[in-house]
């Protein structure tokens, strides 16, 4: 049961990482600020700019 819970939390963490939600939390922590629509937009713009500078795999 514990392993199942660990697996579930790992999967959830992976989904959050893929969704950039984990990166956003890190961004908030690093900047020591709270979530706001403007902060998300600022983070998202920076993140996506960097992300789409790199080619996607075939």
């Amino acid at each position: 049961m514990t392993r199942l819970r660990m697996f579930r939390s790992l999967m959830l963490a992976l989904l959050r990482e893929l969704a950039d939600e984990a990166a956003y939390q890190r961004h908030l922590a690093a900047k020591d600020c709270a979530h706001s629509p403007d902060e998300w937009r600022k983070f998202s713009d920076e993140r996506l700019r960097a992300k789409y500078f790199r080619p996607k795999c075939c």
Partner: protein
């Protein structure tokens, strides 16, 4: 004599070691037996479980022994050494990440359409050659490349392949790497767009579903930006539900007398539509269309791969295609050419992919917490990708061979009418009837399944077959077929829009040296112009493929395969150079042998594609044959265009060969200099810093 306290522990350790050795010996025996069962089986249908078992057991052996040997003896991975993620942690790119999360992240980044489409096309040789190459190629080639490049980048603060090529080999190497990526992207975008076009042409259900993903993506973009900022998972879940609704609505559209004609588009119309889409996605703000579609596509991709794996394990279907077909002689209808070198070129990403080296030297090295995590992430993720390729091969081979060839063969080879096509295919020893094809098309909600080249429809048919047998039966096969088409098209379109955008940035980077304004990503005329240039470049090859009477895939997929393997050649040159500089020359065979193999394959394939006297293989022979028909006076303009295209393809192929030669000669010069002592073998790694993260923390 009384036992000391350490003796029972030592005895228990010995027993554990012995049991471990016994288990690994059993895995090795199962791997050998499954590979043997696959290889010696003739004339009878083989169960797909053998392929899965052979693959998984071989991967386990490769991972546990070969990769561990590379990690410990060759790279000397050291968990005491702080990684860039720890030393340069900034909350953005550099971030120590749990190894399994990073594994998933890396796998999601390397998994593209290549390992799904390539094996389906290579199945024309039968299931055996492709499957063997997917398994063996990944263990000794692809995974090694990914692993070594990841290690090299990790030791160099996460530097990109281009930067490492420039530093380790020379400025020329760096420039060639950049040029190669740009050229590959153009061919890649054209060929994957062709796969989508061929899957959607004449299919109102599929076209409607994919068209509906555009407004869905726009809605998601708005939702994420203004309605619920930051809620990506929630937004993607809503997007997924809407896409599922679009698949159901697509069936209604296909049956509607009013709407079906609106969404029944020719290949040419679809090619223009996709080209326009690529332009818009490149020029529009990234948050509006590209990013929400990319999030959704990533989740759908991982979900479907998991579903397919579960379906294959649950159903364990029999393979209908034989181990070898008659097309090992090089006269295959899907693409022409013998097993060597074309099977290896066609499989491409499922066994070894140059593009992976861009990911291994991109985000991943900046997120590794401990050096030993590179072992599962770099090597292990490629093995999983290879397993996906094996599953695609299974999905293609569960179809009746006659159906497989009827779906994948172009009209120019099998005949322009269904009756002619089935007669030709049946004469090859793969019986199929028009009624059977009509029945199948009706079951999956399509008007026809003839001449659906490109691999996507046959992969969708195979997947639908497996999913439907897992539950629901024939009643749901139409839904699963269109679900699979949606899944393939969704992430192919993501590759197209992201690729066009990246190509635009690369072009802006180059043009910025000529005219600074063109290099500014905020200057709209420059954005529109460079987006247009990239779209025209791949759009031209796409249009060429659509108009090709041989189906386009015959010309474009080998070009893409050659280009991709060329990038792998560059990556392996960099990897070999680094090993030599690390004074690991005695292990040079680890990257040297895959490199030698790739050079042989790439050069042979490129040479044959240019100079083979067979018009279906050699571009120049094809141009000569077309030239000879010009005198007859029919369709002069069209024939001239085909001649130009064949010559253009020959030039592109020639450029690829020259690029391989340049990078190889440059690398050989460096290696010879180091061995002769005339060149210093300076290791350009970041200095050693003791890690402060404990293993438990990692």
């Amino acid at each position: 004599m009384p036992l000391t306290t350490s003796e029972p522990a030592a005895a228990s350790g010995k027993l554990k070691r012995f049991l471990g050795q016994l288990i690994w010996a059993a895995v090795a025996v199962v791997a050998a037996f499954s590979l043997g069962a696959m290889a010696v089986n003739r004339g009878e249908h083989i169960n797909s479980a053998w392929l899965v078992l052979a693959a998984v057991c071989t991967y386990m052996i490769g991972f546990r022994f070969y990769a561990r040997f590379i990690a410990a003896r060759v790279m000397a991975l050291d968990n005491q050494r702080a990684t860039p993620a720890e030393r340069l942690e900034n909350g953005h790119d550099f971030e120590p990440t749990n190894k399994w999360i990073l594994f998933g992240h890396h796998f999601a980044a390397i998994a593209g359409p290549g390992p799904l489409v390539g094996p389906v096309l290579a199945a024309q040789f039968g299931y055996l050659p492709g499957t063997l190459w997917i398994i063996i190629g990944a263990v000794v080639g692809g995974a090694v490349q990914d692993f070594v490049i990841l290690f090299a980048s990790m030791r160099r603060d996460g530097k990109s392949l281009g930067k490492m090529a420039r530093e380790e080999i020379g400025k020329l190497g760096g420039f060639v790497a950049l040029l190669t990526v740009l050229l590959i992207m153009i061919i890649l975008l054209a060929v994957v767009a062709l796969v989508v076009v061929n899957a959607l042409a004449g299919s109102p259900w599929g076209t409607f579903t994919i068209a509906a993903t555009m407004p869905i993506a726009l809605f998601m973009g708005w939702y994420l930006r203004y309605r619920r900022p930051g809620k990506v998972l929630e937004c993607s879940a809503i997007g997924f539900v809407l896409v599922l609704a679009a698949i159901f609505a697509g069936q209604w559209v296909a049956q509607s007398h009013t709407w079906a004609p609106v969404f029944t588009l020719s290949a040419v119309a679809l090619a223009f539509a996709i080209t326009l889409y690529g332009f818009l996605a490149s020029a529009l703000p990234v948050w509006l269309l590209l990013a929400p579609r990319d999030y959704l596509s990533t989740f759908v991709k991982l979900g479907v791969i998991f579903l397919l794996a579960a379906g294959i394990v649950f159903v364990r279907p029999e393979l209908e295609l034989p181990a070898f077909t008659r097309f090992t002689d090089g006269n295959g209808p899907i693409f022409a050419g013998k097993i060597f070198p074309f099977c290896f070129i066609t499989i491409a990403c499922g066994a070894i992919s140059g593009f992976h080296s861009l990911i291994s030297s991109g985000t991943t090295p900046k997120m590794i917490t401990k050096e030993w995590h590179a072992w599962p992430v770099g090597y292990g993720a490629m093995l999983l990708e290879s397993l996906v390729a094996v599953m695609a091969m299974i999905a293609a081979c569960v179809m009746h061979p006659g159906v497989y060839f009827a779906v994948n063969s172009p009209a120019g080879i099998v005949g322009g009418t269904p009756a002619a096509a089935v007669a030709t295919i049946s004469s090859w020893g793969f019986p199929v009837s028009v009624a059977e094809m009509q029945q199948l098309a009706h079951t999956v909600g399509e008007q026809t399944l003839f001449y659906r080249t490109g691999g996507a429809p046959s992969l969708a048919l195979g997947m639908a077959h497996i999913f439907a047998h897992s539950g629901g039966g024939r009643a749901v096969i139409g839904f699963w077929y269109h679900f699979a088409i949606m899944f393939e098209a969704l992430f192919i379109l993501t590759v197209i829009d992201a690729g066009t955008r990246v190509g635009r940035f690369m072009l802006q980077d180059v043009l910025g040296h000529v005219h600074p304004a063109l290099g500014r990503t905020s200057w709209m005329p420059g954005v529109l112009m460079t987006s247009g240039a990239v779209v025209v470049a791949w759009g031209y090859f796409l249009y060429q493929g659509v108009r090709d009477p041989l189906g386009g895939i015959n010309s474009l997929w080998p070009l893409f395969g050659i280009a991709n393997q060329l990038l792998a050649t560059i990556a392996l040159c960099v990897a070999t150079t680094i090993l030599i500089k690390m004074h690991r020359a005695r292990y040079i065979w680890i990257t040297g042998l895959p490199l030698l193999w790739l050079v042989t394959v790439t050069f042979t394939a490129a040479w044959q594609k240019i100079f083979s006297p067979m018009p279906r293989i050699g571009f120049l022979a094809q141009a000569r044959q077309l030239q000879a028909t010009l005198g007859s006076g029919a369709r002069i303009a069209e024939t001239q265009a085909l001649i130009f295209n064949a010559r253009l393809d020959a030039v592109v192929c020639g450029v690829f060969m020259i690029l391989v030669a340049i990078i190889l000669v440059d690398s050989l010069r460096i290696w010879a200099g180091i061995f002769a002592g005339s060149r210093t073998s300076q290791v350009l790694e970041a200095p050693f810093v003791l890690s402060r993260l404990s293993t438990e923390e990692a």
